[in-house]
């Protein structure tokens, strides 16, 4: 069934709300009263509900099936978290209402900070960044602020980023004016320690490293890297996107990390929501802690208070680099993440990492004969394959991914990381059962065999069974249509 665009449901006279016209009053809009029609459609509540219910049925979701997007960590989203975020005492408070009326909200932020600091072994945290990439920006700003304080901002202009990094890493460094210098990978999928050391120098501001890295591997030399970075007078930014692989077992603070953001959705199960909202708190080492941005929460004998201006910070003895957000960050996500942490506890969170790694290795071990794994040894939370096993079949990684859709699965992450050809990055997460993973493995093996036995059409034409066949992305980009427009001649839309 085709679902019209909302605007095509327009039926002037219908309305999805009942609002009484205000009693007569003397408007005080000055010369700014809006004139003319905006163009918004008129639709009743039953039609609106049905429209969005029908749209929803065109989406794949973690609640419907395994969602093996490597690096994206699609795990179960507990409904308890949703319920907690909707408590009036947490959801219905204003960021600027008097501090004495939000003591519980500040306590919650303080408690979340405590958990994040304990889990990472780092002494400070900035909660405010609105997403992972925003957290990266925050971390790198703190690094630059520290360099400014040391008077080395002018001289340190280079940031080292491995080839396998998330695109946000170089984008963030570039935004701050840094020159991005790529570190090559070894054939084992890790930072080439020698090449890295060779790139170090007095002009290096920082290294940005993901660990576990985007190949799903733990950087064995991480402590040596950290030591070398510090010796060179630079800072170690760790992309914490994959923190879920080690939470409770390894503390970034013990590895020498100076700043790391944490994607609350990946590690602590806040919902992805079709692309957000995220939340990207950043933990800091002693060296960077004083530069953590405004605002932050302090607990003293008078209760909880917000340090939200430079004046407050001065009184508090810190030296914040500035402000990332208007208010205090993604409170709604803080509630959910804390509910998740409290539910698991120290024991459950350690189990999270273990089960995530176990599930990924089980996939790796089960598929490595039919697929081709570029690197040796156990992986962490995600299993990486390349497209060598498809050689000569005429099937490419993209085709393979689309064929998975017809089997009822969301494709894995593909063509990332860039360091292997036709990459397929599979992250089952810790919330998949063995029964579920077994079924997935069987399906993947079946597909691999089909690809190798010349069943090419099954792949290149896929998907066949989805709400849509392959979409013309090139056409979309060439002549972008970014909004609905009424049909040109005056006639009813259908």
């Amino acid at each position: 069934l085709e679902e019209p665009i909302l605007f095509e449901l327009d039926n002037p006279g219908a309305c999805g709300v009942d609002l009484d016209e205000p009693e007569e009053f003397a408007p005080r809009l000055g010369n700014f009263a809006r004139a003319g029609r905006i163009g918004l459609p008129s639709v009743s509540e039953p039609e609106v509900v049905r429209h969005f219910v029908r749209l929803s049925s065109k989406n794949y979701s973690i609640d419907a099936g395994l969602y093996p997007l490597g690096s994206c960590t699609m795990k179960h989203n507990p409904r308890l978290n949703e319920k907690m975020a909707r408590l009036p005492g947490l959801g219905d408070v204003h960021p600027l209402q008097p501090v004495k009326t939000v003591q519980g909200a500040l306590e919650l932020m303080h408690e979340l900070s405590h958990w994040l600091k304990e889990l990472t072994g780092m002494p400070a945290v900035a909660l405010s960044p609105k997403a992972g990439a925003h957290g990266e920006l925050c971390g790198m700003m703190a690094i630059r602020a520290a360099l400014i304080a040391r008077g080395e901002d002018e001289t340190r202009s280079r940031v080292l980023v491995p080839e396998s990094a998330h695109g946000t890493n170089p984008a963030t460094a570039a935004l701050l004016g840094y020159k991005v210098d790529a570190i090559p990978a070894t054939k084992e999928g890790r930072v080439d320690l020698e090449a890295f050391k060779a790139k170090l120098g007095p002009d290096v501001a920082a290294i940005m490293l993901t660990n576990p890295n985007t190949c799903g591997l733990f950087e064995r030399d991480i402590i040596d890297i950290a030591d070398a970075v510090h010796e060179a007078g630079a800072y170690f930014y760790c992309d914490g996107a994959n923190f879920n692989a080690i939470v409770g077992r390894v503390r970034p603070g013990d590895l020498g990390v100076d700043a790391m953001h944490i994607n609350l959705h990946k590690t602590f199960s806040t919902p992805h929501g079709g692309g957000g909202p995220g939340a990207g708190p950043v933990v800091f080492s002693e060296a960077l802690a004083p530069f953590a941005p405004l605002p932050y929460v302090v607990h003293d004998k008078d209760g909880f208070r917000l340090v939200e201006t430079e004046g407050d910070a001065k009184a508090d003895g810190t030296n914040p680099f500035g402000r990332m957000v208007a208010f205090h960050g993604q409170m709604g996500m803080f509630v959910r993440a804390l509910a998740y942490m409290m539910s698991h506890g120290s024991d459950g969170l350690r189990q999270v990492a273990e089960d995530a790694v176990l599930n990924a290795n089980y996939v790796l071990a089960s598929l490595k004969e039919d697929f081709s794994a570029p690197f040796e040894g156990p992986c962490m939370h995600e299993a990486l394959f390349d497209d060598r096993f498809l050689k000569g079949t005429g099937v490419e990684t993209l085709d393979f991914a689309k064929a998975m859709i017809d089997e009822g699965y969301h494709p894995m992450t593909m063509y990332f990381p860039l360091v292997v050809h036709g990459a397929m990055l599979i992250e089952p997460t810790e919330t998949e059962s063995k029964q579920s993973v077994d079924l997935f493995i069987a399906t993947m093996k079946d597909l691999a065999r089909a690809a190798k036995s010349n069943d090419k059409d099954r792949f290149t034409g896929a998907p066949y069974m989805a709400p849509r066949r392959r979409l013309d992305e090139t056409g979309a980009a060439r002549k972008p249509v970014l909004r609905w427009a009424p049909p040109a001649p005056k006639q009813a839309a259908e």
């Binding site: 085709e2 918004l40 059962s433």
Partner: protein, 448 residues
């Protein structure tokens, strides 16, 4: 643990297939001295009931806006959200879906993004909009960067009408990205801001907020003219997006980029986040926009469909050459916005705006009668500023003890600025009843 399906038995079997003796073996790449054997020093797992109790205890220490006469705005507004909105955004298919990188199985998300973009473009009076930013303030920062890209200049001028925390966000971004910025002093209602004098050949943009931080509505037309004459862009910031149901949209006053905070439609207060940034511009600047864009196209069978598009601007493709480092948008919040806006429709959106304006006017008329109170605004939507006979922070504090949350003392965000010490910024929406207004008036009389 209720969220972890693997059993001890499963784990044993799986280790067998992997060929490992223990899970520890899978962590062998971790340097030995970084391996933690014991548990971190945090409480153990808790059942649902216990977690509800712990968080419920914290929640109980706050005063929810609905529980008292409540008049704080300043960039976040308490509106009534229809029950259908929260119900629909919690559907598994929306809540637990990822970014729609696989358009064949995410048309649900993509189509509402397309509808969202259309709604945003329409209400701001602009041509195109993106699929949302984190929030209004970060969107404002991105708008300035975009103006720099478009004009190839490096300096921006921020009007004193801009919310101080928005200005701080822009300042921070600008500082670290090594751009120049001129920040004007607070623009009090009734005092003309001489911004035209600051528009020169070297600026990429001028940023003006309307309704301004003090609630005043500002005329953008002369500023747009002056900016365009100097080859600069006008960035208009709308912190209360409901205002555009009653007020001339920036697009009709010459704005080149409109940034808005969309929280008011469909989204709760949430102590400051998550919110949803609206970002609209002229079609000619489309390819310079930050953030995600959803575009219409067709599938292999020729059926209409939607995809994320122009992603060559984005970090996952362009890496260090991307227009911004943004990776996520505010998906679920834009869905809430889109659904609420769908329910409102043309007439509901406009009427709700009128109701808000009426509520604020009635409140202003009432409070103006309280001895010692002066309303500063000439033209406003649902928020205004009053001058009190004593420091506003003290008054707000005293009002809390009378059970009224009376607004934002300007001094909280502008500490040390003498001329705002006595100013109280007060918002009123459809949630405020006549009884709320009466309670405010009575309490204010008592504390002054």
């Amino acid at each position: 643990m209720r969220y972890l399906p693997l059993t001890e038995n499963d784990r044993r079997e799986m280790l067998g297939v992997i060929g490992a003796k223990s899970v520890d073996e899978l962590f062998r790449d971790v340097p030995e001295r970084a391996r933690r054997e014991g548990l971190v020093d945090l409480p153990r797992r808790q059942g649902e009931l216990e977690v509800e109790r712990m968080l419920g205890r914290m929640a109980a220490k706050n005063t929810p806006a609905a529980s008292v006469p409540f008049f704080v705005g300043a960039g976040a507004y308490r509106h009534h959200v229809p029950a259908a909105v929260d119900h629909l955004i919690q559907r598994s298919e929306f809540l637990t879906s990822y970014t729609p990188y696989q358009p064949e199985i995410t048309q649900g998300t993509l189509q509402y993004l397309f509808e969202f973009q259309t709604q945003v473009a329409m209400i701001t009076g602009m041509e195109v909009a993106n699929a949302s930013m984190y929030d209004g303030a970060t969107g404002c920062g991105e708008a300035v960067l975009m103006a720099h890209r478009v004009t190839k200049r490096r300096k921006a001028v921020l009007s004193g009408t801009l919310h101080p925390q928005y200005a701080a966000v822009v300042q921070n971004l600008s500082d670290f990205a090594d751009y120049e910025l001129e920040v004007m002093p607070p623009a009090l209602p009734g005092q003309a801001e001489d911004i035209l004098a600051h528009i020169h050949d070297d600026i990429s943009c001028v940023v003006v907020q309307t309704p301004g931080f003090f609630g005043e509505l500002h005329d953008l037309r002369p500023i747009a003219e002056a900016a365009h004459a100097k080859g600069a862009l006008l960035i208009a910031v709308v912190p209360e997006i409901l205002s555009l149901g009653a007020v001339t949209p920036p697009g009709e006053m010459g704005a080149d980029i409109v940034v808005g905070e969309g929280q008011s439609i469909g989204n709760g207060l949430n102590f400051g986040g998550p919110y949803v940034g609206l970002f609209a511009t002229r079609e000619k600047y489309m390819r310079q926009m930050p953030g995600r864009l959803c575009g219409e196209t067709v599938d292999a069978d020729g059926n209409r469909g939607f995809v994320l598009t122009l992603s060559t601007r984005e970090q996952h493709i362009r890496r260090e050459k991307a227009t911004s480092n943004i990776c996520t948008n505010s998906g679920l919040c834009c869905l809430a916005f889109t659904i609420h806006m769908s329910l409102l429709g043309e007439e509901g959106y406009k009427r709700l705006a009128r109701i808000n304006h009426a509520a604020a006017v009635k409140l202003a008329e009432r409070l103006a009668k309280v001895p010692g109170v002066e309303i500063l605004n000439q033209a406003f939507f649902n928020e205004f500023t009053m001058r009190l006979p004593k420091p506003a922070a003290e008054v707000v504090d005293a009002l809390v003890d009378k059970g009224v949350i009376g607004g934002l003392p300007a001094s909280r965000l502008l500490p040390g600025v003498a001329e705002v010490e006595d100013l109280l910024i007060v918002a009123s929406t459809e949630i405020n009843t006549e009884a709320d207004r009466a309670a405010y008036e009575a309490a204010l009389k008592e504390v002054l």
